[in-house]
């Protein structure tokens, strides 16, 4: 198949950036979206052009490093799919595809489709952990955990930190990301001692980074490649209120 790509090119944070049109021919429907970009980049390098910079690593949908807005959708229109797991068979021959980086003030563009998501790390630094130095843990069976709680904690913990929730949200909110971690740790007995301080510190850090507030639009969960449920945000709000009493 043959495609026309309109790709956001931006040399660095100071550059204004612009959409650039590329023609890509002989695309195999079995290619992943990133492999299609690889093929284009190989051509650009040989032509002496700057290849399109994009983040990617595991290419099996779990590291959370890749992410681009494709035709207006974070990670593309396919549900529960990271960009690296999106395949070209979902596009039509002669399609025109726009490709842009995550757009949110707390995710400044580094170059082209690469953004700086270190704000996510700082939210975790604020309290997204259980304080237990190596070697100090009691036997794993000393605290049983209800299966339902463990399963729900796991569901929240599957967040890959890609940032699609922020990119999809009209407010640029990081609520789903922050709530996923708060929910994961709040549901476990091990997470109780720091539950209040964690919720307070993480929510405050999220705000300090400049992420917007949640207005229950739900785009975050719809675009989340791991389907993190929206009710984690309710859990976060409950924990935050509890902590603020």
């Amino acid at each position: 198949m043959n495609l026309t790509l309109k790709v956001w090119r931006q040399r660095g944070p100071q550059d204004k950036g612009r959409m650039v049109t590329y023609r890509v021919e002989d695309v195999s429907p079995d290619m992943s979206f990133l492999e299609m970009l690889d093929v284009l980049n190989e051509r650009l390098i040989l032509e002496g052009d700057d290849p399109i910079a994009f983040d990617h690593d595991c290419r099996e949908g779990i590291c959370g490093m890749c992410g681009m807005v494709i035709n207006g959708y974070a990670h593309g229109e396919q549900v529960a799919t990271t960009t690296c797991q999106l395949h070209m068979r979902h596009f039509e021959d002669e399609a025109v595809i726009t490709v842009e980086p995550w757009r949110a003030a707390p995710f400044p563009v580094v170059k082209d489709l690469v953004v700086d998501r270190s704000s996510f790390d700082r939210i975790i630094q604020a309290g997204g952990f259980i304080s237990v130095p190596a070697g100090s843990a009691p036997d794993a069976h000393s605290v049983p955990v209800k299966k339902a709680d463990a399963d729900a904690a796991f569901d929240a913990a599957t967040c890959i930190g890609c940032g699609a929730c922020v990119a999809a949200c009209p407010n640029g909110s990081a609520s789903l990301f922050t709530a996923a971690k708060i929910t994961h740790l709040s549901l476990l007995p091990q997470g109780q001692p720091e539950r209040d301080s964690r919720a307070r510190a993480m929510v405050e850090q999220m705000d300090a980074e400049g992420f917007g507030g949640c207005t229950n639009t739900g785009e975050c969960t719809a675009s989340c490649p791991k389907g993190i449920p929206l009710d984690t945000i309710a859990q976060m709000n409950r924990d935050y209120l509890r902590a603020s009493k």
Binding site: I45, D57, C58, E60, T81, D121, I130, A140, A150, F154
Partner: protein, 642 residues
Amino acid sequence: MGRHYTEGEPIRDTKAPAGPIEERWEKRKFGAKLVNPANKRKMHVIVVGTGLAGGSAAATLGELGYNVTSFCYQDSPRRAHSIAAQGGINAAKNYRGDGDSIYRLFYDTVKGGDFRARESNVYRLAQVSVNIIDQAVAQGVPFAREYGGLLDTRSFGGAQVSRTFYARGQTGQQLLLGAYQALERQIAAGTVKMNTRHEMLDLIVSDGRARGVIVRDMVTGEIERHLADAVVLATGGYGNVFFLSTNAKGCNTTAIWRAHRRGAMFANPCYTQIHPTCIPVSGDYQSKLTLMSESLRNDGRVWVPVKAGDTRPAAEIPEQERDYYLERIYPAFGNLVPRDIASRAAKNVCDEGRGVGPGGLGVYLDFADAISRLGRDAVEKKYGNLFEMYERITGEDPYSQPMRIYPAVHYTMGGLWVDYDLQSTIPGLFVVGEANFSDHGANRLGASALMQGLADGYFVLPTTIGDYLANGPYGEVDDEAVAEAEAAVQSKIERLLSVNGTRTADSYHRELGKLMWDYCGMERTEESLRKALERIPELREEFWRNVKVSGTADELNQALERAGRVADFFDLAELMCIDALHRTESCGGHFRAESQDADGEALRDDENFAYVAAWEYGEQGPVLHKEALEYEYVTMSQRSYK
């Protein structure tokens, strides 16, 4: 044609304490000198890599009060490829009361490694395994649980006990996030300084000791020098030398290869694990391979057409024209033979022209029988997420037509040589996780990689590095050594940018990978390895004459990053082939066609090869140092699966 190497002095001391095996680690811990708590923050340790081994090491050293600087090439420490591990983590907890013990895990690991690992190291690994589960649970890792609230386990990789702890199909992710959270906590506490998007390009060795690293800031292109009292490499394996593997795209050998060039010996580079159930290559644009869990072989039947060149769709091939070759050749184990045997058998039928799918490099894994026996619902319950992943990638529905699978490079057992303290042959350079060679011998068992990474990072290294640091301080770092390392990095970058040839680094990497797969892959022969050793230097020479790297050094330049990594893969590939050529026996993941029994099974040669091959870098070719392996506890035996 002669030998490609010379032989040096054997390695006689691995620093493991003597005495009964179960007391050795206790003895070492007690014998290790301690650093005064007030002095710890004056001690500076660099940790490169933030996977299970590096992330847990940096976090733990920070908790202990050391001044830690951590580096990763990704945009966040949470991205390291440990995150992709699916299956689980072994631990000798014996929560099932099914007869497991530290001794049994030790025994299984030594045997599974085909008697090419050190007994002392493996025993310690089994001892520490129980602490890992405690640590992870306390951190909030959401392992699978039973209705009674206790941890669930499963059996894995042919083990006869149920000792594998898991978090659905995402155990690596959950364990890595545990280590990442511990690391972020230390970053917030100020004990660890994190540098993301930084790639280590050389090791600084001053007065014979590792004293720092040269790194490139991948955003600005700036070359930075970082000095320390000790350096820890946790930079993972080198499976991407084959270009196509289940590794992440960024996984590379540069950090350990640069350390090797500076004097760290490289042990058993030819030990490569090939996983039998991966999704096959679909075209020449393919950038990586995706693993499908081995558990699929419990219910799927592997087959190919009887006739070579049969291109009919699977459904149109009648039963009598199908060859269920694993069931035919290995009637006792059938589709459940170990990884290496299943992989080689698939290669053999494809070599006969009976492979299926594009390029004929695939075999069927058929669930039709399982679906008619158990019903579609039961199959979906068991394997639903895997079937979905398969369909996402291939566009084929595995409920209505058989899956196509093919073996792929998955893990490298070789790595930098380390002693019992995880210290390399350069004093002050410690190596943890897949980057070292220590615990898996010639073959790693399923669910043991996560165990080893975390054992090294949480429990072993923090003790042993303290002993090294307590014996310091080691004086000022020689300015000239730093300047020399920095200049070497600069000149390599300039050289890559100045060639301005006609082929991309990736195209050379693909060609090198294909060559390694064909000549130093699942089956190796003297002839194939000699061919590879002829072809690699030619291709490398062409690379340095004809590679095209666009852009400049002082910006985010992914073409430049890749070219630098490919250059080091060439050198490593050559050493792998030399190692594979010299080891004329078959063992574990290293199968030499010349060394097989009458049934075609791998044949070890314990009389001549019961040693670790540690290679020293030499301008005139590598120098082999042998570390003899002695088995005091486990009796050496030959494997059989008929």
